[in-house]
Symmetry: C2
DNA sequence: TCATCCCGTTGAAACGGTTACATGAACTGG
DNA sequence: CCAGTTCATGTAACCGTTTCAACGGGATGA
């Protein structure tokens, strides 16, 4: 049973390095150096100290350590929500790498609200984390760029490295690390896959002008059409957000609006694909017999519905973000990395006419 | 552009409360008091200080504040993995409540490894978070109980409140808050639902002796059978973990082993249900036409596959954990709360004989 | 025998806040 | 006009750790 000092109010107080020093009969400086382990010391002293540490169940006070100038061992990730599979997987990658490097991980959610993002970054500035990783799809307008530039500079002053994950770079003057993945390439590849199966009328679900991720995916879709010399019909692009119920809505409205004028569907992500598939089934249309369907992300719902989709290296995104941030000894560096994507063929696409 | 002190090495250093005091022409005590807001001050002084704070872009140093005896504004949650939907939803609830109460949230993952759990709790002890929330299914053996009792006492000394979420209580001598949900009641209700539809041979997938969550669900299943005077056949309980691929394996092996001897399936959770459903389809059996299927959790895959299941208040679990921990001014209190569950009827159960 | 060196150890000064206590100015009432 | 009171602000101690500069003492070399 560890002995601890008991102040007057009766509640025990954590043992300090002073308690350990007294218990071992040495000075606090000696204890500190022996625990940090990077300094020579007599084996006998070391033994005494370690025994005292065990007997008092001593752990260092992270705040005192942080104050004394040792960089706190923590990284932070800020996402819209942790229940969204994309963010969850990136967060898992961040976690993995953080644990591997002996760091704690702070997670903040914003619900997509810039006010909450600002408040979170403020709290993280107080915390002096080693890295602050911002994840996700955004509108890359001027206000956004200014906000990020502000974050980057403020965080650099606090000794933290800003990392943008799955977002476009801001320019060389902004000290941020950017870790992207190839949205346009993936969309190009899977659209080509549909085109190779003979589809010419491919519905795109989930356009969202201004937002970088869906825009990049639409760009890949259009580029593939152009490369195959298939005319681009703007009416085949449907606007909506990247949620399941939106996929359902977009498909339902389309089917109610008139006769079906497409043979395949490229959903902006797997959630939209799942919703669209449900709407199709509700109208008696089966995937892939009546309509071919492709998604984007390769996240859990995809396997359940046998969806051909684009694999995104979510966890590697998180791991890379942490790795680069910690490699970069001097906070405030700029760097840009793009990770690849590839298509995963399951059973949701069939050659046209073989329904 | 905020002015900041520039040490010799050329990198700016964050401005301190001293810089603000000098800039505003007051003492640091005044600045501290005005910023904490809990003390009277002259409007003129207040204005000067706030202007200095803005001009210097000052944020307090969380470590210094923590060291000076102010409880750091943070709660921690420890889960097996953040990609698992159950944990993700609980974590979301914790996040929500943490933000609402102005706290930062630290998230640790253990991958189910007690070593990593121990290391994480150690780091959190150093951090002096207000609450440490441990989530999830475990083997409640003696070693586990001792470990938790140790955590609870060590954390209480550090000023943190231990909260166990979705786990059974440990006994009144262990200072931990327990927030549970009604596994047995939910399993009882959904088994009764199947029984009311005329099913008598109900396969249970995902038994796992020793683990508290599946054990509680099996108990509810058995209790419902007994209440309806339906004989309990131990051969209808299949062992397996709570993952999708395990659901697929259990069902596949069962179907390969001999003729089908059940009309309904109660899967230990929605993931198992999703895997089992796939295995059924691979053998040409449709849900609910040929086989009725029920799950547990009401998480994303459930809606995709139209699964009748038991709703678990995941997010409320997380919110409640934070709320109770913060309400409890003195860390080291024991308390026990049980949240209710209820069934959600979709389209995966059909009266027996109406296939 | 004495100066020199090295090793292990120590005392004390940061680090950046909070807060109990001291101080002084401006009011109030007799 | 002065003692007493109130209010705003300043002074300084303290939180627990790291680290620099100094120090004691045994071994070494001259």
């Amino acid at each position: 049973m560890p002995r601890r000092a008991m102040p007057e109010d009766g509640r025990p107080r954590p043992s300090t390095i002073r308690d350990v020093a007294r218990h071992a009969g040495v000075s606090v400086a000696t204890v500190s150096r022996i625990l940090s382990g990077t300094y020579p010391s007599a084996p006998a002293t070391r033994g005494k100290v370690m025994r005292a540490v065990r007997e008092l169940d001593y752990v260092a006070n992270a705040h005192a350590r942080g104050l004394a100038g040792v960089r706190p061992k923590s990284v932070a990730i800020v996402v819209t929500s942790v229940v969204s599979p994309h963010y969850a997987h990136v967060a898992q990658g961040v976690q993995d790498q953080a644990v591997r490097e002996g760091r704690l991980c702070i997670v903040g959610t914003t619900g997509g609200d810039p006010e909450r993002e600002l408040a979170t970054v403020r709290l993280l500035r107080e915390e002096h984390a080693e890295a602050v990783i911002l994840v996700g799809n955004i509108v890359a307008d001027d206000a956004y760029r200014r906000r990020m530039a502000g974050y980057a500079r403020a965080l650099a002053v606090a000794g933290s490295q800003l990392v943008l994950c799955g977002r476009p770079p801001l320019g060389d003057d902004v000290p941020a690390i950017v870790v992207e993945y190839d949205n346009t390439g993936g969309a190009y590849a899977i659209t080509s896959h549909l085109l190779s199966a003979g589809h010419r009328r491919i519905l795109f679900l989930g356009r969202r002008p201004g937002y970088t991720t869906p825009e990049a995916r639409v760009a890949g879709y259009r580029a593939a059409l152009a490369a195959h010399r298939v005319p681009h019909d703007p009416l085949l692009e449907v606007d909506g957000t990247m949620e399941r119920h939106e996929g359902h809505r977009m498909m339902r409205e389309r089917l109610e609006a008139g006769p079906r004028d497409f043979t395949a569907v490229f959903a902006g992500n797997d959630l939209i694909a799942a919703g669209a598939r449900q709407a199709l089934r509700e109208r008696g249309l089966r995937v892939p017999d009546d309509v071919s369907l492709a998604g984007f992300d390769d996240l859990p719902p995809a396997a359940d519905i046998d969806l051909t989709t684009v694999h995104v290296p979510h966890e590697e995104l998180g791991r890379t973000a942490v790795r680069l941030a910690l490699e970069n000894a001097t906070p405030g560096a700029a760097q840009h990395v793009m990770l690849g994507t590839h298509i995963v063929v399951r059973d949701s696409v069939r050659p046209v006419g073989q329904g």
